[in-house]
């Protein structure tokens, strides 16, 4: 049970430090808010165009949020010289990955659930009754983004130009997530039946499963030294 305790404690530690200083979530949130403003200035948004471009806007905003938030997920450990303690933990290193991953998923989901009503408010969307579908899509896409993002964050945190390297590594690999999430979101916006866009959600789920497992296995090598 040591394994699961480690996962729980690392996720708990991240949440606790977040509750105490509110650094991560607030920076993600305000950054995404600025992105929303920039988008509303950049496009002339009449109701028909909103329907067209809204899924893209939402996922670009969330993608930037992920870059801001996930890129820093190992920074505190490096600054406080805690990586060595992680290496010394007598559990499979994948447990550390899972702990961090769960923390990141929670942060992202919190930010997304705060942001989404703001999207509805600013762009006059009429979708609040479809909130469960949106939550499902946000959930599976966020799990995929966090699975890759946590791994690449651990990779790039020890690199010299980490602010540049993190998006350069993450974004090309996350292309399937963006395609799947945008298409599923578009389906919900258009009021399609669930069966019409469920294959995108299946794609996202497959992506999540593959990359959580692969990252869990491969994380062993990152903390080797």
């Amino acid at each position: 049970m040591h394994f699961f305790n480690t996962i729980r404690w690392i996720a708990w530690k991240d949440l606790l430090s977040e509750v105490r200083n509110r650094e991560n979530i607030s920076s993600m949130f305000f950054f995404a808010l600025i992105v929303i403003f920039i988008f509303s200035f950049s496009f002339s948004l009449d109701p028909r165009t909103v329907q067209e471009v809204m899924p893209g806007i939402i996922w670009v905003a969330f993608g930037f949020t992920a870059i801001i938030g996930l890129g820093k997920s190992f920074l505190a450990e490096v600054h406080n010289d805690c990586m060595e303690y992680f290496q010394m933990l007598p559990v499979p290193k994948g447990a550390i990955y899972l702990g961090k991953f769960i923390g990141n998923v929670l942060f992202m989901l919190i930010v997304e659930t705060i942001l989404f009503p703001l999207f509805v408010l600013f762009f006059n969307l009429d979708v609040l009754e479809k909130f469960p579908q949106f939550l499902l899509i946000f959930g599976v896409a966020t799990v995929g983004l966090s699975a890759l993002g946590t791994l690449f964050s651990a990779l790039t945190v020890q690199v010299r130009a980490r602010e540049v390297m993190f998006p350069i590594l993450l974004l090309p690999m996350a292309v399937p997530i963006f395609i799947g999430a945008v298409e599923a979101t578009r389906g919900v916006f258009n009021g399609d039946a669930f069966a019409l866009y469920s294959h995108w959600i299946q794609l996202l789920v497959v992506f999540d499963v593959i990359f959580v497992i692969v990252s869990f296995w491969i994380f062993e090598f990152i903390l080797d030294f």
Partner: protein, 237 residues
Amino acid sequence: MILNRFIRWLGRYEGWFGGGAALCIGIGLYMGLVTSPPDYYQGEVVRIMYVHVPSAKTSLFAYLVLFIGSIWYLWKRDPVIDNMCHATAGIALFYVGTALLTGSIWAKPTWNTWWTWDPRLTSFAILFLTLVGYLMLRTFLDDKEKEATFAAILAIIGFIDLPIVYFSVEWWRTLHQPMSMSVRGISFAPEMLTPLILMSIGSSLLFSYMLMVRTQMLYLERLLEAKQGRLLSETRL
């Protein structure tokens, strides 16, 4: 180990690989440009196939080599394998770039556009970006061992990601642009197949030759650094 001995044995015949590549590519070019017939629909433009298809195939082969090499490195921690992976990534980037450029040149007369979000084109573009990221990550890390491990991890993740990218783009494209610009089947005459096979063999032989030369180059660079008294691994965070 038997595999290492096999590679050392192969290395002795480095020149044969280069010569064989030159021979195959030479004959292939002659057959492709002169003796093979033009295609019924595409005309002479079909001759781009003889450089485009082999470079695309070889870049996928190179990425497969990179994937296997990365797993092998994580398993055995052999610095020479790491050199090989580094060399493979550079050559693969070169081949992917060639395939993208020639594909773009081929697309202009056949599809009347330089670029289309075709699944194959898109996944090659993603492959290109991944390889650029791979090489950048290597330049930004100072510790050699860390560099090798992180790069290997990135290569493995990227390899697994590639088919998912391909299928997601394919689904996405069938939704947005109906396949109006799909490749019209080139009816393969045997006169066209022979130069294509020759060019493919030549291109893979050239890849092996380049791989040997480039691995040697990276190894010698590291040796020179060691000889100049620099530490092989210096940690800087």
